[in-house]
Symmetry: C2
Subunit: 333 residues, 2 copies
Amino acid sequence: MHEKKIVLTGDRPTGKLHIGHYVGSLKQRVDLQRTTDQYILIADMQALTDNIHNPEKVKAHVIEVLMDYYSVGIDFEVSNIFIQSLIPEIAELAVIYLNLVTVNRLKRNPTIKTEIAQKGFGEAVTAGFLMYPVHQAADITIVRANLVPVGSDQIPMIEQTNEIIEKFTAIYGPLFERVEPLVPSRGNRLPGIDGQAKMGKSLSNAIYLSDSADSVHKKVMNMYTDPNHLHVADPGTVEGNTVFAYLDLFDPNANELANLKEQYQKGGLGDVTIKKRLSEILNSFLEPIRLKRAEIEHEKSWLMEHVLQSTKNVRIRAQETMELVKKCLHLLY
Amino acid sequence: MHEKKIVLTGDRPTGKLHIGHYVGSLKQRVDLQRTTDQYILIADMQALTDNIHNPEKVKAHVIEVLMDYYSVGIDFEVSNIFIQSLIPEIAELAVIYLNLVTVNRLKRNPTIKTEIAQKGFGEAVTAGFLMYPVHQAADITIVRANLVPVGSDQIPMIEQTNEIIEKFTAIYGPLFERVEPLVPSRGNRLPGIDGQAKMGKSLSNAIYLSDSADSVHKKVMNMYTDPNHLHVADPGTVEGNTVFAYLDLFDPNANELANLKEQYQKGGLGDVTIKKRLSEILNSFLEPIRLKRAEIEHEKSWLMEHVLQSTKNVRIRAQETMELVKKCLHLLY
């Protein structure tokens, strides 16, 4: 017998989702929802760790993210979408896990170290931010997930979760399975339209799933290419050229793309031509997504009600998990 | 109009309570329950922070502590006794508070620094232990308490809570009152029977509320006095003499005690005489407590059921608090 994997994935509701999210995770979720038991977390509590002054922003983006999910084909009847703050058992489990990890270990977490530097927290890092990998371990184990899709930079988070599980098992006995990271085998990270390595929700360099055709066209026409490719006749570089990076992932015609690259490198192919091609390709990719979004635009409350109901179902599972945890910890009364 | 103060107090269920607890806090609770709204927390989750390998110990002491409460006259109908782990909202609020305090601030907490040194945690201090003042801030504010009885060494904990409240207020608006520490005005700390400064649940130097008359007698007869007072005729020292420290708090006859001290200091009063006096005084103090304990000994399940019911009532208040907190944080769906 081969049981279905239990997947935990999700997003912090801090911005609208973009095509980088689609390539990096949303597409995968649409596939995984057919073959696994998939749980999708709207991590509003975790979003607050670095948005304590902007709780309105977090709240406002919950419905945006849900509409993004719907529009790309995440099936609200199949995937278990749930809102973190409505499941207090996650906080309960996180508090228990805090006893199983040292402060020094959290400080050594490479992902956290990088983020503390990027966000400029320095010595003022809050306890909540330092602890968020522990909170994630609770997110994952509260639904007893055993497969977690992550980018390669997030692997230390899964290691942290597995360390907590090992420690828990060593003291209280086996309850949780080790968690397997699901790391995409091919490059699935889109650069920003400005050529920055990462397309970011809050970096103003993203093409959003909800962008209009016109907006996409403008963004593509302003895209970063090869700064030395000044005239059509000049030879151009394909590596590090944002337009080609996007075409690599979205162009349905591999042969034509190969020819275009060859021509671009030799000289004689202008940026405008390849940008127009990309703009058309992206807009035909986004068109059905826009249609699905338009379909649900006036049914936002249905979407939210649906998620509140599935959160209730997930909470039942979370409560079962906590019963098991509390049994291990002699906390049943 | 003068509203009743809301008091939060409690114990970690890690051992039976002793006469040091009586003098330091239980007596006060018996008084406070008539004049305030008193909440008494059985801090089982917090007890786990340094008992991760001994959850059975924590569980076993819950009923012991409840019997101690009952025996000294805490009224289960009047005081709101509740079990921490049965109120997940406390963990929820603690997780929110973690965002309002820096890791460095927690490390500077004098009480925590002392405890980390005492317990020999060093670099291996767990996140759970470092965070426990934040957890306490959640314990206090979840019932919206404004008065917290503490020993003078615990004042930094109240300062930490008030800092969190101030930060919360500054960002999200006024919801919680400042918390006032209730520090006893007179010396209320009993030394251990071995002369150690502190009588400790786990230091084997305590006279427990549940000790038999015989056991109390033996403990008193072995008490640490003045190590230079070898013969009855020798002059003895009263300061630092454990027997007199106890008599100061328990002897009902102040004049007789003053005479005895004078005689002891001059010489001619033996340790056996003052120990017998103390043994009798302690046993007549403990006798009604023992009787109340015997009364409830076979009704432990009644006691526990009662507390489970009052925990449910406290949880309703906790849920109201979390509704208010979540409204501030835009987390209502």
